[in-house]
């Protein structure tokens, strides 16, 4: 519990920066919506008929002139990418930062134990992702209300839950890498998030690459799909994602329990 509180405290500033950064961009787009929806009405058909580009951003399924359509195609992308990158950074630095910062000897010679260290850090990551998504939910619902529009609560809740699952999956994969690595590979973490996002776009553009939706968590947490399907999330990619999350967490424990710790 002491380590958990310690981790929350150390990651506080980073959390606030990412929260403000991602949510100010997302809320800013919502506030822009009333100013641009008229001009977009003329372009809506064009946006929906741009083939692969339209498919990549879901503009072939949702009308960009409605707030839900605008949310699904634009804001959902900003939030998914921002949240995924934040989750990756939390995971990739969690364990390896102790060795790269030379604090590992201090931490490991207290009475926490290696499993306790992984647990404390994992709980701190889940807490911050949870807070990130809860605040995002409030900001999305509040911003929509402020401009006199509304988002389907069911769809929004499902979207936020799917985002939490995707962020947890990315953070878990990065945590397992962090358990193995002696260096804080922030670039690798960001790279993983971006590559997974690109895989989702590729899966949407071409049918031959449809199998990629089983690899990337951005497929089952895609805002367009959640809003088009009235809050329903595709089960198989979600279950695979949950499996990857659990496996990654066990891998992190397994690696970290036995690995030599650098000075």
């Amino acid at each position: 519990m002491t380590l958990y509180k310690h981790e929350l405290k150390l990651n506080r500033v980073g959390f606030l920066i990412w929260l403000l950064g991602v949510l100010s961009m997302s809320a800013g787009c919502i506030f822009l919506f009333p100013l641009i929806d008229d001009s977009m009405a003329d372009m809506s058909d064009a946006f929906a008929s741009m083939g692969g580009f339209s498919a990549a951003f879901g503009m072939d399924k949702l009308a960009i002139t409605t707030l839900e359509g605008f949310f699904g195609t634009e804001i959902g992308t900003i939030f998914a990418l921002g949240g995924g990158m934040y989750a990756a950074l939390l995971g990739i630095s969690a364990l390896s930062k102790e060795e790269s910062g030379h604090t590992a000897e201090f931490l490991h010679t207290l009475t926490i134990g290696r499993c306790g260290i992984v647990t404390g850090k994992l709980l701190a990551i889940l807490t911050y992702l949870c807070l990130f998504d809860v605040v995002a939910f409030g900001v999305f619902a509040g911003s929509a209300a402020l401009i006199g529009e509304s988002l389907s609560m069911k769809c929004l809740v499902c979207y936020i839950l799917a985002q939490f699952a995707a962020q947890t999956e990315i953070a878990s994969v990065c945590l397992a890498l962090s358990a193995y690595s002696k260096r804080s590979s922030l670039g690798l973490g960001l790279g993983i998030a971006l590559v997974l996002y690109v895989l989702d776009i590729v899966a949407r553009i071409t049918e031959q690459a449809d199998f990629l939706k089983y690899i990337t968590p951005f497929s089952y947490s895609n805002a367009t799909d959640v809003f088009v399907n009235q809050g329903s999330i595709e089960a198989i990619p979600l279950c695979i994602g949950l499996g990857v999350t659990v496996t990654s967490i066990f891998t992190a424990y397994f690696i970290y329990r036995t690995r030599d710790i650098a000075a």
Binding site: H6, T103, E105, T109, G113, A263
Partner: protein, 291 residues
């Protein structure tokens, strides 16, 4: 009393290799409870590797060790509750204040150490309001000492504790070690500073190139039978047992650990103008182990 009760640290054939690289090989020795035990060796000899194996930071590739009767692998958490450790390069979380680090170390252990921590901070002149990132190496080491001592452990393990500390704080540190030792604590400290080992430790082990080469009381280690020889008028004398050979203007100086008869026979073939045979200094004796 059986061995388990009297032994603070028992190391049996401890080995650690890093792929093809040497770490430590077949290291065995014992530290009794209540001792101040020195662990000597040049840089890269394997002192820190041995300590890091004992603390469970790295896994030994062979052998075993016990601390306070607990196996270092299976009893890691129990051991950590009962020891205080300070690494050679003490580092903490840069954004935290000194007081927060000290409290964190105590809270993790679930012990109220405020009184002891305040006493230690006062004696070591630790400014608890500063942030870690503002501290020099010496001041970080002082925080490390407080974190290692505040819970009054049964065994202290210090890896080169005095590097970076000014002489006054070094003296205060050893005074604290003596006080805790007088109350029953054991102290195991690694160093390459011979004078502090000689002054404060009753026993010492010497490690070189990953292997233990001696383990005894300081008195016994210092009396190896070696002599410091100064022979005027002698040139190019070669004999088994000679070390630290220096050719001077008038002759030769060296440390000799072989047969005295062989030395006298060899010298008789030279034009010896003056000869002195003395006990070598402790430094010279230890350098023999290092060479």
């Amino acid at each position: 009393m059986n061995a388990e009760n009297t032994s603070a640290i028992t190391i049996k054939s401890l080995t650690k290799t890093y792929g093809k690289n040497r770490g430590i090989e077949d290291v065995s020795f014992e530290v009794q409870r209540g001792e101040i035990f020195g662990f000597l060796g040049p840089n890269g000899a394997g002192k820190s590797t041995t300590i890091r194996c004992l603390l469970g930071l790295i896994r030994p590739t062979g052998g075993s060790a016990e601390i306070l009767g607990c196996d270092i692998v299976k009893g890691h958490r129990d051991i950590m509750k009962r020891i205080g450790y300070m690494p050679s390069e003490t580092q903490f979380y840069p954004s935290m204040k000194v007081s927060e680090v000290i409290r964190f170390a105590a809270d993790v252990r679930g012990v109220d150490c405020r009184e002891e921590a305040a006493k230690l901070c006062e004696r070591l002149k630790v400014d608890t309001k500063k942030r870690i990132e503002e501290l020099s190496l010496g001041n970080r080491k002082k925080v490390g000492i407080v974190c290692a001592m505040q819970h009054r452990p049964e065994l202290f393990i210090f890896d080169e504790p005095t590097s970076g500390l000014d002489p006054l704080i070094q003296a205060e540190f050893f005074e604290l070690v003596r006080e805790y030792n007088a109350q029953g604590a054991t102290c195991f400290l690694s160093s390459h500073v011979l004078s502090e080992i000689r002054k404060y430790c009753g026993k010492a082990a010497i490690i070189r190139e990953g292997r233990l080469i001696a383990c005894d009381t300081i008195d016994h280690l210092a009396h190896t039978g070696a002599k410091f020889i100064r022979a005027e008028g002698v040139r190019d004398l070669r004999l088994d047992g000679m070390s630290k050979v220096v050719q001077t203007d008038g002759g030769m100086e060296f440390v000799y650990s072989g047969s005295m008869n062989d030395l006298l026979k060899a010298l008789s073939a030279h034009d010896v103008q003056d000869l002195s045979i003395e006990e070598p200094s402790l430094e010279d004796v230890f350098m023999q182990y290092y060479d």
